[in-house]
């Protein structure tokens, strides 16, 4: 298969970016999208140019490291997969493919298609955990958890932190990401004692870092490679309101 690639190139955070056009040919339909970029990069190195920089690691859809806008969609046109799991057979021969980095204010560009997503870690650091230190915990079966609840928590916990939800949202909202973690821990008995503090602190941090609010367009859900449900956002809103209204606990730890 042959393709024309329009790729965003930008040397660093402050440099001015631009689209560059590349032609690539003889690509197997079984080749993954990132392998196609590898082939392009090897040819660029052979021509002594700087390869296109993009984040990637596990290449099996679980680490959340890869992510780019492909033809206007985070992770490309396929549903429920990350960029590394996208195969060239999903494109048509001769197609022009436009590749851009995540564009959101809290994700500054590092180089080309690589953006800085450490803002997501900062939100987790505000309470995306159970404050259990190592040792001194009860037996794993001491607190029973219904299968239904455990499965639901697992679905929320499947988030890979890739940032596609933020990139897809016109408000650059991180609500789907934050609500997935809030939900997982709110559903489990282990997360209950800190639930009220957690939701308030995480939401405050999210706002603080410049992520927008949710205006219910659900682009995040539509583009999420792990198909995290928007019902998590509803649960987070409920948790947040209840915490604000009912909780007299301080948000300070």
């Amino acid at each position: 298969m042959d393709f024309t690639l329009k790729i965003w190139r930008q040397e660093n955070r402050k440099a001015k970016g631009r689209f560059e056009t590349y032609k690539i040919s003889n690509i197997s339909p079984d080749c993954s999208f990132l392998e196609m970029l590898d082939i392009l990069n090897e040819s660029l190195v052979n021509k002594l140019s700087h390869p296109v920089c993009f984040d990637n690691d596990c290449r099996e859809g679980i680490c959340g490291m890869c992510g780019m806008y492909i033809n206007g969609h985070p992770h490309g046109p396929d549903k429920g997969v990350t960029t590394c799991q996208l195969y060239m057979r999903k494109f048509t021969d001769g197609e022009t493919i436009t590749i851009e980095p995540w564009r959101a204010r809290p994700f500054p560009i590092i180089r080309d298609l690589i953006v800085d997503r450490t803002a997501l870690d900062k939100i987790i650091q505000e309470g995306g955990y159970v404050s259990a230190t190592t040792g001194g915990v009860p037996d794993g079966n001491a607190i029973l958890i219904s299968k239904h609840k455990a499965d639901e928590a697992m679905d929320s916990a499947s988030c890979i932190g890739c940032g596609a939800c933020v990139a897809a949202c016109k408000n650059a909202s991180a609500m789907l990401f934050v609500s997935a973690k809030v939900s997982q821990l709110a559903l489990l008995p282990q997360g209950k004692p800190e639930a009220a503090i957690r939701v308030q602190n995480m939401v405050a941090k999210m706002d603080d870092l410049g992520f927008g609010n949710c205006t219910n367009t659900y682009a995040c859900e539509a583009e999420c490679p792990k198909q995290i449900k928007r019902s998590n956002i509803a649960r987070m809103n409920r948790e947040f309101i209840c915490a604000k209204v009912a909780s007299e606990e301080s948000t300070k730890r």
Partner: protein, 646 residues
């Protein structure tokens, strides 16, 4: 001269760890704050160690090669984590987990370390549940288990097919809590470039900031290496693209001994190789072998027809299928350990019964499981794996058997450590896949997650205190010393040298060459002749690299080509001792299969008389032959037998 003292505590096996903990030295809380610990790597072992040491009150710095600890490749482990809870009442116990792990490792692991691993396994499950890890549960609300290769009990805890992800996110959450508390400082997008040794002790590291190219110095009273294994030496493996052994090789060059480099695990259930462009191999969880049955056609002509696309697997009658694992190993069937399942697949394919376009694939069939359990149940158990398979291969595994073939997956060898997980350099510790300690010559499924978390949560927080107890008299380590300056200088020189070559070959092409040599000559089946060929080939490749590699870009900005080149240089070094170690080990054991040493039935033949030792390699300097030392393995509590899964 270093002598290998494994520091195994005296006494009964079941009392060693308890006694150790009761008599080890501690550091009081006021002093902990004054002690700096460096942790390199943020996977299960690194994150759990940093979180636990931070919670104890030490000043921890942790270094992550990616943008976030959650990217570490522990995240990709699918199947599960073992523990001796015996929740299923099927006869499990600490003793049995210990025995299975030692036997699975083909009697090449240290008894005391493995027993401790089995002992702390239950605490890991409790810890993870307390963190909010959503393990699978049954309808009564209790933790569910599944069975895994090499065991006859169900002791594997799991979270769908994403157990590694959930455990890593658990460790990451514990780490995040400590980062918030200020006990741990996180440095992302940093790669360790050298170890700094001062007066014989590990005192710091040199890193490269991957965003800016800055070379940075970091000092500490102790250093933990938790940077994973070296599977990417083979180029194609199930490891992630950024997995590399550079940190371990730097430690080896600075005087840490490297143990059993030849022990590499080839995982039996991976998606077969498709083409030259392929960048990595994808694993299909071993848990699939619980319900999937592995087979190839009984008749060569059927296999031939399938390869040519004239016949479909579903058209082959039951009696014309060879369920070769069930045939050869009736007691364990499809659940034999990984090394055995891998070799059996290779044997069938080499004999001409392989399927797929290349002939290097076997079937993993869920037909009878779907008939027995129903499609819904199969989907509930393996849904995400089936979906992943379909995405990659574009074949529906509910209707057609999956195709699988073995691929490099895990490395049992690693930095040599004693009972305290301390390397031969005082103050340098190694945890998780980066050390060699617990899996002998072969690792059982669901044991890597167990070991990474055991080391990080429950071993290092004790053993490191024992070392650090007298470090309270050492004031803050300065980075403004000759040792740091020299280490930084050598890093700069190495990188400048790589950039200056401006040769003809891309890093990727040299990496593929290395992978080819290793897979063909130091791969699944090894023999003297091939190993002797590999050694000069690797020497030539090293010369080729240092004279003909082409790296574009510059030193002072984000430059993935430079990162890959520096890692490749280290991988070639490691490949050389892998080949040498494989050559000296004239026996077949676990993942190391020497074609000259087989039983009459074609099974691996160990030589306990001459090879019941750990092969421990000491670096002697550039262009010098490394020297191998031996740590004899003494089995005092277990009856050493020929492994038998029949």
């Amino acid at each position: 001269m270093n002598t290998l003292n494994s520091k195994i505590p005296e006494g009964q096996l079941s009392e060693k760890w308890t006694k150790y903990k009761a008599s080890q030295k501690l550091v009081n809380p006021a002093n902990k704050r004054k002690i700096d610990v460096i942790v390199v790597g943020t996977g299960l072992a690194g994150s759990s160690a940093a979180a636990s040491l931070g919670a104890l009150g030490f000043n921890v710095k942790i270094f992550c090669i990616s943008d976030s600890p959650r990217r570490a490749h522990s995240i990709a482990a699918q199947g599960g984590i073992n523990a001796a809870k015996n929740y299923q009442n099927d006869g499990d116990s600490v003793d049995r987990l210990f025995y299975d792990t030692i036997k699975g490792g083909d009697y090449r692991a240290r008894e005391a370390n493995v027993y401790r691993l089995a002992e702390v396994s239950n605490s890991i499950i409790d810890q993870c549940v307390a963190q909010g890890v959503p393990f699978a549960r049954d309808y009564a609300g209790m933790l569910d288990n599944r069975s895994f290769g090499g065991a006859q009990v169900s002791r594997t805890f799991y979270a769908k097919g994403q157990t590694g992800q959930q455990l890593l996110l658990g460790a990451y959450s514990a780490l995040s809590k400590e980062i918030k508390a200020g006990t741990v400082k996180m440095y992302e997008r940093r790669e360790m470039m050298d170890l700094v040794v001062v007066d014989g002790r590990a005192r710091g590291i040199i890193t490269r900031n991957l965003q800016t190219g800055e070379i940075e110095r970091w000092a500490g009273h102790a250093v933990v290496i938790a940077t994973g294994g070296y599977g990417n030496v083979y180029y194609l493996s199930t490891n992630a693209m950024n997995c590399n052994a550079s940190a371990a090789v730097q430690c080896y060059h600075k005087g840490a001994f490297f143990a059993n480099p030849c022990y590499v695990q080839i995982h039996p259930t991976c998606i077969p190789v498709k083409g030259e462009y392929q960048s990595k191999l994808t694993l299909m969880s071993e848990s699939l072998r619980n319900d999937g049955r592995i087979w190839v056609p009984k008749k060569k002509e059927d296999a031939q027809a399938i390869r040519e696309g004239k016949l479909k697997p579903t058209e082959i009658a039951e009696e014309d299928r060879d369920y070769y694992l069930e045939r050869r190993y009736p007691a364990f069937g499809n659940l034999v350990p990984r090394d055995i399942a891998s070799r059996a697949a290779k044997e069938r394919c080499d004999a001409g019964y392989g399927v797929g376009a290349t002939g290097f694939a076997v079937y993993l069939d869920f037909k009878s499981a779907i008939e027995r359990l129903g499609k819904d149940k199969v989907e509930e158990r393996y849904g995400n794996l089936f979906q992943m398979y379909e995405e990659i291969v574009a074949v529906n595994p509910y209707e057609n058997p999956m195709m699988i073939y073995p691929a490099v997956h895990y490395t049992m060898g690693g930095l040599w450590v004693d009972y305290e997980l301390q390397t031969t350099i005082p103050g340098l510790f190694a945890a998780g896949e980066a050390n060699f300690s617990d899996h002998g010559a072969n690792r059982l499924g669901a044991s890597a997650l167990m070991q990474g978390l055991a080391d990080g949560y429950f071993v290092l927080p004790y053993t490191m205190q024992n070392y650090l107890s007298d470090q309270i008299y050492v004031s803050k380590i300065s980075t403004e010393t000759e040792e740091f300056a020299n280490a930084e200088k050598s890093v700069r020189e190495k990188l400048e040298k790589i950039m200056a070559i401006k040769g003809e070959k891309t890093v990727d092409s040299l990496q593929r060459e290395l992978g080819h040599i290793m897979w063909e000559y130091v791969g699944m089946g090894r023999n003297r002749e091939n190993l002797q060929k590999a050694i000069p080939m690797l020497e030539n490749l090293k010369k080729e690299f240092w004279s003909n590699v082409r790296v574009t870009g510059d030193l002072t900005s984000l430059n993935p080509e430079l990162e890959k080149a520096a890692r490749l240089a280290d991988h070639i070094e490691l490949a050389q001792i892998m080949a040498k170690d494989a050559l000296q080990r004239e026996e077949s054991c676990g993942g190391h299969f020497r074609e000259e040493y087989v039983t009459e039935e074609g099974e691996a033949k160990r030589n306990d008389q001459d090879f019941m030792f750990v092969g421990v390699w000491e670096y002697k300097g550039k262009d010098q032959e490394p020297v191998m030392h031996k740590e004899d393995l003494k089995y005092e509590f277990i009856n050493v037998q020929q492994r038998n899964y029949k």
